[in-house]
Each structure stands twice: as C-alpha cells, then as structure tokens.
Amino acid sequence: MSGPLLEMRGVTAGYAQDIDVLREISLRVDAGQVTGLIGLNGAGKSTLVKTICGFLAPKSGSVTFEGNDVSGVAPHKLIDLGICCIPQESSLFPYLSVEDNLTLPLLGRRAKFGSVLKQRLDDVYAQFPALHEKRSQAAGSLSGGQQKQLEFGKAWLQQPKLCLVDEPSIGLSPRISEEVFTWIEKFASSGMGILLIDHNVRRVVRMSDRVCVLSLGRITAEGASSEFQGDLHRQVQEWLGLDF
C-alpha cells in the first residue's frame, strides 16, 4: 500500500480558545506497523487521540486517513471508515450487559458484520474467559482490569484498519497485559495500523516500528525504534528535558 494510513500535518489543537495543547503536530501511522507515542503525563497524548477521533476540532493543520481529510468527521462515523479507538477513560456502557457492550457497535451495522459476528465473539471469549463468564452481567460491575479487557474485546470485534490504543496496560494483570500486547502485534502483522500510547517505554520501543516522543504538545523526537535502543532511561530523560 502506498502512502501512510493516517497522517497528521501541522495539527494544532486545544480545549480552550487561547490555550493550545497540541502544537504543530505531524505524525504518521502506516498500515501493518505499530507507531508508539510516549511522553510525560499531560504531554498531550490523549488530546492527540481525541483530535484524531473528532472529539476536538484541530485549529489548524489536517488529519488524513487513507488520503481523505477526516479532521471534521464526527466520531461516530469513524467506525465505518475503519478506525477504532480505545480511549484512556472508559467507553463502556455500565448498565448494559457485557455481551451487549461487545456487540452494540456491530449490531447497527449488521450488513457489514453480521456473518462474522458470532465467530469473532467466540474468539474474544476464548481470549478473555473472564468476559465469557460474566457475559450477561452489567459491564459496570466488572473489576477495573476486566473492563479494560472488555474494551479490547470491542476493538477485536471491529477489526478496523487503524486502531488507536491509549494506555492499554492500565490495570491489567501482568499475564493478561502480556497477552494484550501479543494481540497488538498480531493485529499489526495482519495489516492493521496501530497508534500505541503507553508509559512502559521499554515495551513501546520494543513493539513499535516507529516511536514518537511528545513533550509539552510538540513532537520532540521521532524515528525508527532501532534508534531508541540502549540506555533508554537516560535518553528518555534527555528528550523530555528532565534532569534528575
């Protein structure tokens, strides 16, 4: 495939009129690759995801997906384009059952997903037995980690072209978290583009094809992950402009 799957060019965005959280961001995600995004707390990573998803309108710059401008597209249309987002905060419906949570995005689009629904649902349940066990319970009653698993299940069912993953490992037990990352790699190798945000720098570097460092709303370093080997600790601190 030629050209990037997702490309941001010179995007400036923010919540208030006068304060820009993101400044002049340029970033690309290619199909079949994992692009890692790291940065301190409050650097603007989640804001970046929200901008891609259309929750925030960029003040300048453009976001293109498969060559089409998507900067003004409403969030609910993304699923049809093939973009899926696992946000940092919860995207679950606490009073609906686990199964409804999983299938709801697809039910409205039966034409597109109807045939594969059952199969994929079984896949998810096989992957996360806890969800199978609690499939008719309200999603809100799940434990923190189970909820995160559910978010992943949702993404799996959709099998999008691009998946934005904001801090997937939060609250997951080491074993599950390992499995989730394996999944992500599997997704990528099957041709999906992934934007991965996580605080586990070492793992992000290990998994990603490219890594971007976000600091105070700007991309301060970017490159193939091979450039990021070695003494990450020092390097990261340098990029971030911290001296401890």
Partner: protein
C-alpha cells in the same frame, strides 16, 4: 405519560420541566384536529403523537444541544441548564397556547361512542377502557423496544456513556433527538388519550407531570416496568386512601408512600444500583 418521562429522565438524566406541556400539546392537537377538521378521533390520535414527537425533536434540536457540548473532555452535564430552559419552555408553551388557541378547555371526542357500562364496582366508559388498552399496548411495545431492539440498546448506550457511544459508531446526537421525540410522543399520546376525560386547558399538564415525576422516582429511574408498576400502585393506593381515609390529603399520602419506598430502596422499586467504586 410517566413512562415517557421515565425515558427522558431516566435515560438522559435531564429534568424536563416542560414534560407536562408536551402532554398538553398532545391533548390539544388531538382535540383540535378531531373537532376542527372533523376527522375520526382515530386519525387525530396519531396526529397528536406526531405533534408530540415533532415538538420533542425540535426542543432537543434547538435547546438541548449545549448540554453535551464538550462531553469528550469530561464535559459536565449542566442539569441546571436543562431545568431552566425547560422551565422557560413550559411557561412559553402554556402561554402561547393560551394566546393562540384560547384559554378555553375542550372535551376531546371519545374514541368509541359506546356509553358507560359497569365493570364490577366501577362504571367504565368505552373511552376509558380503550385508553387503558392503547396505553398498555404502547407501554409494552416500548419496553420491548428498549430492551430488545438495537435502537433501544443504542438509546441506553448513549445515556450511559456518550463518549463510548460515539466510539461505538452511534450517532449520539441523533439518538438523543430520538429520545426526546419518543418521550414527547408518549406524553402527547397520553394527553390525547386522556383528552376526553381531562378536558385540556393550557395548564392541564402541570398536575400529571408532577404525578409522573413521583411515579418515575417510585418506579426507579429509567425502568419502564418500574414506572408502570409504580403508576398502578400509586393509583390504587390513592384511590383506596381517598375512599377510606381523607380525600383532601390523598396526595400527601402518595408522598408518604414515596418516602417509604425511598427509605427502603433509595434507587426506587426497580432502579438498578450500579457499582460505584
């Protein structure tokens, strides 16, 4: 009526002061369509429903939008905003109808022209019986719609997590408008069904609205079945109380029931209590 309210309120957690006026608009539409155009009341009934739905839709379009602006970023639902806007709306609708249609009340034509008949100790008119049947059908249909259909689930999803709903590909805005339209429709329908009995006048909505609020709380927010059961309990016990107790204070009696229930079950009869921690 209460069920419509249960929707808007349970689902969106928006206090709609103007719900009673949706009721009033429905009742008036029914009466005026039936009387002025001299069509069968069976045609006027859907007209009323339509009017209610349209009104709900418009209200949402024009007035409710700012409520969820910025929900992506921990937007705070401004319930006070909704209260005030719907308060203004309620005033507006009452007075507009008062000025346009006139302050006079009208008795709506009955759906069927059988006169009264006895059913046990109570006399019923055909109208009452029909109204009850239609209402039950609608409520049952609605409950099934909410629980089973995709739309119903989408409605619930939007109510529970707007951000999540958008990400799940649900057009939250359209769904909200839909909720308002349905709830407006229900209120209008109940207005129309009751029009032959309550003789609509511009401020006819106030009392049923308050009753519905009590019912909604009693039944448990957002629970359609709860609302139905609560309506029944309240109706029966109030009637019982006014016959054997004091008629004057039967509303106070209704409150006493409410308080009792809430003391035992703060989430209402059928309300679910979610995990909070």
């Amino acid at each position: 009526m209460a069920v419509g309210l249960a929707m808007i309120f349970g689902v969106l957690k928006i206090v709609n002061f103007a719900h009673g006026e949706f009721f009033m608009v429905g009742a008036y539409t029914y009466v005026l369509v039936a009387l002025k155009f001299e069509v069968s009341p069976w045609i006027a009934l859907p007209c009323a429903a339509l009017a209610g739905a349209a009104l709900g839709w418009i209200v949402e379009r024009l007035l409710m939008r700012p409520l969820y602006r910025g929900y992506a970023s921990w937007g705070f639902m401004k319930d006070e905003y909704a209260v005030v806007v719907t308060f203004g709306l309620s005033l507006l609708l009452i007075n507009l109808v008062d000025k346009i249609v006139g302050p006079y009340s009208y008795k709506g034509p009955s759906l069927i022209e059988t006169s009264r008949f006895a059913l046990g100790p109570v006399m019923l008119t055909g109208q009452k019986a029909i109204a009850a049947v239609v209402a039950l059908l609608i409520m049952g249909g609605l409950a099934v719609f909410l629980k089973r259909s995709v739309w119903g689930k989408q409605i619930q999803a939007v109510a529970q997590n707007r951000l999540g709903a958008s990400l799940a590909g649900i057009d939250a805005t359209r769904t909200t408008a839909l909720i308002f339209a349905i709830s407006g429709m229900l209120a209008a329908l109940s207005g129309a069904l009751l029009a032959p009995m309550v003789n609509p006048s511009p401020d006819v909505g106030a009392f049923p609205a308050i009753k519905s609020y009590v019912i909604v709380v009693l039944g448990g927010m957002g629970s359609v079945w709860g609302a139905m059961l609560a309506a029944m309990i309240l109706g029966v016990s109030e009637a019982f109380f006014s016959v054997y107790g004091s008629y004057d204070y039967r509303d106070a009696f209704g409150l006493a029931i409410l308080v009792l229930v809430l003391l035992l079950r703060p989430q209402g009869l059928f309300g679910e209590k979610g995990r909070e921690l």
